[in-house]
């Protein structure tokens, strides 16, 4: 039952599935891999030296290198214009590319048209499996590295990933090029095994097979594509072995099995393997007590200007969400931003953190200009934030969420992990310790392994703070952290913010809980209808006529 060709096809199918896995981990659905593979296979077959002249292995190595280079180049060419597309749109654009490639190849002279090219068989089961093992090793090492976590974060919530300082465009393109390289590898191996290379080998249905293999195997764990390929290659073989005749029954059963797997095993076959997430023992006392191995940030001197907004405004159509705001925040201050619903508070902090470009005026935050600078650069400058509606990475554990938050202060570890360098392990440990301490700081130390989406609402809000804290920010923006908390939780949160402020952190706090703002803030800014109506110490604000008016209304206004 396990003939040589079956063994090779399992390996090839898995390699192709890895090229889908490479982008699925980053939340991208691409179907262009068949096109990359086709380009790679035909270029390699046309350009590589003849195995009969230079020997089998050298010829194959040259062909594989050509194929990977072509695959990568094609991925860059396709990736640059399409990286801003999402979801189904990206899938269909890349699919169109693959089909266009196939039709081009059919219509070209040098590819042999629809008949294809004859290629010597050089690939043996050993070669195929060595290639597969190298690829699987790559993804095994990628998973728990800083790069791997960044990709996962992008998959879970792109905007939050951006706010954590991850350059989403570069990471997505990197994942896409990885997919191109792997598809190129697959194309060449296929060409040098199948003997007769035809454009039909890279059709739409082949791309779908690759995607199905990756998803059935599981697109969140590195062994997934291998499991998927074993499963999908063996199903017809087993059917043949138990004597089911060719015809309609085989595809029917294959479809049925696929349906069962996808409906009842949400994480694919890989989810049958349960790994316990690691939770490190916390050593050292508190956040920042042990920064060895983390990138050191230079925080502004106390009193230095952190935020300077001049005449800042934002219009949505004809609606002035924010108008003519002038505001300065100095290092070490805890500024409260209050105002009725719809006053423009969130729009204001979105502009400060660079997620929304202002329509007028200028903003300068920690030496960068949000709106002109992409959000991840603003984060790199030292701005870290939470969101009004929690934007956690729902399928990652609490600890992993915080590790992503530490993206900017931890070191890249993927390449060193590939080489198994001890320094990578040390750096990972440092990052883990740092993340665990941030969790401890907000009181979630015992929930490190819990999936973020399974946490209670209040815990999710605190996890967001821990994640923001992990970036060792110079300016921390908290957007309604106490929303939906009960009085006890809000009180504990208030204490936490107070203790962060005592550490010298500059904080911009948006909150509806006026009592909490009055207790924790050194200065309060009141926004109404997009304009600043008052600034001052909590005491001044509490007795300010305009503010009371805005909140409670005036008697004669009741018309």
């Amino acid at each position: 039952m396990l003939s040589e060709s079956t063994i090779v096809f399992i390996a090839l199918g898995a390699i192709f599935a890895y090229s889908f896995y490479a982008v699925l981990v980053a939340g991208q659905l691409s179907l262009g891999q068949a096109g990359f593979a086709a380009l790679a296979a035909f270029s390699a077959a046309a350009l590589a030296p003849d195995p009969r002249e230079v020997g089998d292995l050298p010829a194959l190595v040259v062909a594989v290198l050509i194929g990977m280079a072509v695959g990568a180049a094609a991925a860059v060419v396709l990736g640059l214009p399409t990286m801003r597309l999402r979801g189904v749109f990206l899938a269909i654009a890349t699919l169109a590319f693959a089909e266009a490639v196939r039709i081009l190849i059919i219509n070209m002279e040098w590819t042999g048209g629809a008949q294809g090219m004859s290629v010597p068989r050089v690939v043996t089961p050993a070669v195929a499996w060595v290639c597969l093992l190298v690829v699987a090793y790559w993804f095994w090492r990628q998973g728990p590295s800083r790069y791997g976590r960044a990709l996962e974060a992008i998959r879970e919530d792109e905007l939050a990933a951006r706010a954590m300082g991850i350059d989403v465009g570069r990471h997505r393109l990197a994942a896409f090029v990885t997919a191109g390289v792997l598809a190129g590898l697959y194309g060449v191996l296929w060409a040098y095994y199948i003997r007769l290379l035809a454009p039909e080998d890279f059709s739409f249905s082949v791309a779908i097979d690759g995607l199905v293999t990756a998803v059935v195997g599981g697109s969140t764990m590195f062994v997934g594509p291998v499991l998927g390929s074993v499963f999908l290659t063996l199903v017809p073989e087993v059917q043949r072995a138990v004597g089911i005749e060719a015809g309609w029954i085989r595809p029917f059963l294959s479809g049925l099995l696929l349906l069962v797997v996808i409906l009842f095993l949400p994480g694919g076959l890989a989810s049958l393997i349960r790994l316990r997430p690691r939770a490190p023992q916390v050593t050292g006392s508190d956040v920042g007590s042990d920064r060895e191995g983390l990138t050191r940030r230079v925080h502004p001197e106390p009193g230095a200007t952190v935020v300077r907004l001049q005449d800042l405004g934002k219009d949505y159509g004809g609606v002035h969400a924010v108008r003519g705001v002038d505001l300065e925040i100095h290092a070490g201050e805890v500024v409260g931003l209050i105002g009725p619903n719809g006053a423009g508070k969130t729009t204001l902090v979105n502009m400060v953190s660079g997620l929304v470009p202002p329509s007028s005026g200028t903003a300068e935050v920690l030496g960068v200009e949000p709106g002109r600078t992409p959000p991840h650069e603003v984060a790199r400058a030292g701005v870290s934030r939470t969101f009004q509606h929690s934007k956690l990475f729902p399928r990652l554990s609490a600890l992993q969420n915080v590790l992503v938050g530490a993206h900017l202060v931890s070191r890249p570890t993927f390449l060193r992990r590939l080489l198994w360098l001890p320094s990578a392990r040390r750096d990972e440990q440092v990052a883990l310790q740092h993340a665990a301490r941030c969790l401890d700081r907000v009181g979630l130390g015992d929930k490190a392994r819990v999936t973020a989406s399974a946490l209670s609402y209040g815990d999710q809000r605190r996890l967001e703070i821990a994640r923001a804290l992990a970036a060792d920010p110079s300016l921390l923006i908290l957007d309604e952290p106490a929303a939906g908390m009960n009085a006890v939780e809000a009180e504990r949160l208030s204490e936490l913010i107070g203790s962060l402020a005592r550490d010298g952190l500059t904080i911009l706090l948006i909150e509806h809980n006026v009592g909490m703002v009055m207790r924790t803030c050194s200065r309060v800014v009141v926004l109404n209808f997009g304009e600043v109506i008052a600034t001052g110490t909590p005491e001044e604000i509490a007795s300010n006529e305009t503010v009371i008016e805005a909140y409670l209304g005036r008697a004669e206004e009741a018309r």
Binding site: G255, L259, T346
Partner: protein, 291 residues
């Protein structure tokens, strides 16, 4: 002129197929890849109805419509409803509908064999018209009229009726729609049924147009359908209509002036350009990013 009309006839079938695709995507945000299997299945069923049961093709079409609707209910029930609420419902829905499509095609193979099937020779009326110097058969006119009527009917249904309002509410926000008393499950199932019924009629009409049905016919039109809904704008009904007609015309003229081997490149070239220049399609609305 002849080419123009031929383009319109084939384009109207593309449009009818694509409109079913885009209906599910626009309202439920799911891509139903079992749609092409319904397209193929209905072609075979239509031929059998005419061939074995001796029905006239005009009577066979409503039957195919109903059968398509039933298939749509099956697809929703088996491939999509169990995934409700899963974070990966998007990917999983693609895969589960592919799996179900594979099963449908396997069943077709069991019932009808792997070969090509045709309508019996005397099934079509051979009335012909001269329109501005071009030859048109009654069948072609019927294809155009039926497609347009169905699409107009669908637009009215979505725009004017209670059910249509419920559909639009579900498209905006399923949770809010449920809170307001819309039976979301039923609206979802109905949407799938209508979508598949339209795809089924498109399949039967396609089989009439070329007088043949093959197991692979769904896969062949699937890519074109995707191209049409992107070009027209995901989820836009008028977009799918215009996109389908545009594609039909472009293909016919490409064969005329560039050569038939390049015909299929037209759809993808068009699609790619549109995606880069105007990702929301000709008629789609740009979605606002949520912060």
């Amino acid at each position: 002129m002849q080419q123009l009309l031929n383009g319109l006839f084939i384009g109207s079938i593309y449009a009818l197929f694509a409109i079913g695709f885009t209906l599910v995507f626009g309202i439920l945000d799911r891509l139903n890849l079992a749609h092409p299997a319904v397209f193929a299945a209905s072609a075979f069923i239509g031929i059998e109805l005419v061939d074995a049961a001796g029905m006239s093709i005009w009577l066979a079409l409503p039957v195919v419509f109903v059968v398509g609707g039933l298939l749509g209910l099956v697809i929703e029930r088996v491939a999509f409803r169990p995934l409700k609420g899963r974070p990966d419902a998007h990917f999983a829905g693609l895969i589960s509908s592919i799996a179900l499509a594979g099963m449908f095609i396997a069943l077709l193979q069991w019932r009808y064999g792997p070969g090509t099937r045709r309508f019996p020779a005397d099934a079509f009326p051979d009335t012909r018209f001269q329109v501005l110097g071009a030859q048109v058969t009654l069948l072609q006119v019927a294809i155009l009229v039926i497609s347009v009527l169905l699409m107009v009917g669908l637009t009215l249904l979505v725009g004017r009726t209670r059910l249509g309002r419920a559909m639009r509410a579900v498209a905006e926000n399923p949770t809010a729609a449920r809170v307001l008393g819309v039976n979301v499950d039923r609206v979802t199932a109905t949407t799938f049924a209508i979508s598949s019924a339209l795809g089924a009629v498109a399949g039967a009409l396609f089989a009439m147009n070329v007088n043949s049905a093959q197991l692979g016919m769904g896969a062949a039109i699937e890519l074109k359908g995707l191209a049409v809904i992107i070009v027209g704008g995901m989820g836009s009904l008028p977009g799918a209509l215009v996109g389908g007609l545009l594609l039909g015309l472009a293909e016919v003229f490409a064969v005329q002036y560039v050569g038939s081997s390049w015909r299929d490149l037209i759809a993808f070239g068009l699609l790619f350009v549109i995606l880069l220049l105007r990702p929301q399609g000709l008629f789609g609305a740009r979605r606002v990013r949520e912060v």
